[in-house]
Amino acid sequence: MAKQPIPLVDTDIHERVQYRELLEYLDEPFRHYISNCHWLQEKHMPYTQPSIAGVDRADAIVPDGRPAGSDLAFMQEQLLDDVGHEFGILTGALDPSPSSMHGWHEMAAALASAYNNWQIDKWLDKDERLYGSVHVAAQDRDEAVTEIERVGSHPKMVQVLLPIDDIMWGDPYYHPIFEAAEKHNLMIGMHHNEPPIYYGKWPRYFIEWHTLIPTAHMKQVTNMIFNGVFDKFPNLGLIMIEGGFTFIPHMMWKMDQQYRDLRHEVPWLKRKPSDIMKKQIRFCTQPSEELSKKDFTSLLEQMGTDEMICFATDYPHWDYDSPYRALPNLDPELKKKIFYENAKNFYPKIPNTREGYHEGTSCL
């Protein structure tokens, strides 16, 4: 009997907007600020970019010269059709980054709404494999809740995206965002934007920043757990996107030990942190270190579960993980969990089947 291919849910695909495309989705005066006043997203990164085509794969630039990730047809050809994805989660976010704007929150909220409409119109409605992320201006909590109420019930929106930047989202002030997400069966996806990993500043080199991104993810996980988000919202899940996974055992051990000593300070925590992580927190595998099968298996044993990590490519970014080459050769049952079932079980809005779906259409 022929080997059954393993289906793939890709938990991190970056679609990209060009601001002129957003204009038709923006109301005035915000359209005017872009089209006439030359508004651009604030950017801070001091480095030239790491590879040869900015933060993108050089071969992902659209053949007509448009930026990588900006054209559905080319993404289909290069990624979705080539690999044979069952489902892919769009994680946009880098441009614009509404929740990372450090001022002018009205503009941030307008951009988030326009982006969601653009995402639905140009991507989610156009390819049945693609599912989306609700963009919000979360620094304006009440606007964020309004936006989640507006688009959160869309059948293809599966999570609310929050940046890992300089706001710790577990603070009770932001809990209405989680309440709204839970109400609509949306998970929380967190992706770093410009994490203040160096005491609020940038390190001297990109390689330092990129090496230490997981520390920014660890801060948010710690913050969300000890602020009691997961007992307060038992149906909420959190997925940490693009921070890797090899730090998970350390976090579980450290938080459990701290909880045994210091529970008195966070009495709203009803379960030990590692149990919360196993049940409600997931981690994308990308960017994967080059682990041997022995080391990879050992890590899973240390986690005590093989259901916490989900495969992601991060297409079209420079540190793309190939579904064929990024992880060591795994046994089929485990491989199916990491490439498909773990993400499928995490997102309640991803269906068991889709029209035109045939189990195992991927090349994995």
Binding site: P50, S51, R57, A58, D59, W318, D319, Y320, Y324
Partner: protein
């Protein structure tokens, strides 16, 4: 001995590279700025990226001191289009950061206008 014309010398200018087919293999033909030809498997040894979509460029060498870049080897280094790994064209395709790893290479000779790969 298996050999095959993979392109004409005029197809690749010094400092450029191009993909071609050798038997059933996708290969990368590089022409360094001194005019010489080199050939490698057109697939990164890391995660399989198509190297012809990368770049032939120089390198910041190991002679660099902290805070002071020493840049040379213009056109003698292949950088992968994905993760940016660097391979030394003139040193058997060895990875700069880990010379134990190298791109599989092919022998090349030029006869008249023909670039010929052989094993």
């Amino acid at each position: 001995m298996k050999e095959q014309v993979v392109c004409k010398t005029s197809d690749i200018q010094p400092g450029e590279m191009k993909e071609s087919i050798f038997g059933k293999q996708n290969v990368l033909i590089c022409r360094t700025p001194d005019g010489n030809f080199y050939a490698f498997m057109n697939q990164c040894v890391h995660q399989g990226a198509p190297l012809d979509k990368g770049m032939m460029c120089g390198a910041n060498t190991s002679q660099s001191e902290p805070g002071n870049y020493h840049h040379c080897r213009k056109g003698e280094i292949i950088r992968c289009p994905w993760h940016g790994r660097e391979f030394d064209i003139k040193n058997e395709g060895r990875m700069l950061a880990n010379p134990e790893k190298k791109l599989p290479s092919f022998k090349v000779r030029v006869e008249d206008e023909n670039v010929i790969l052989y094993k």
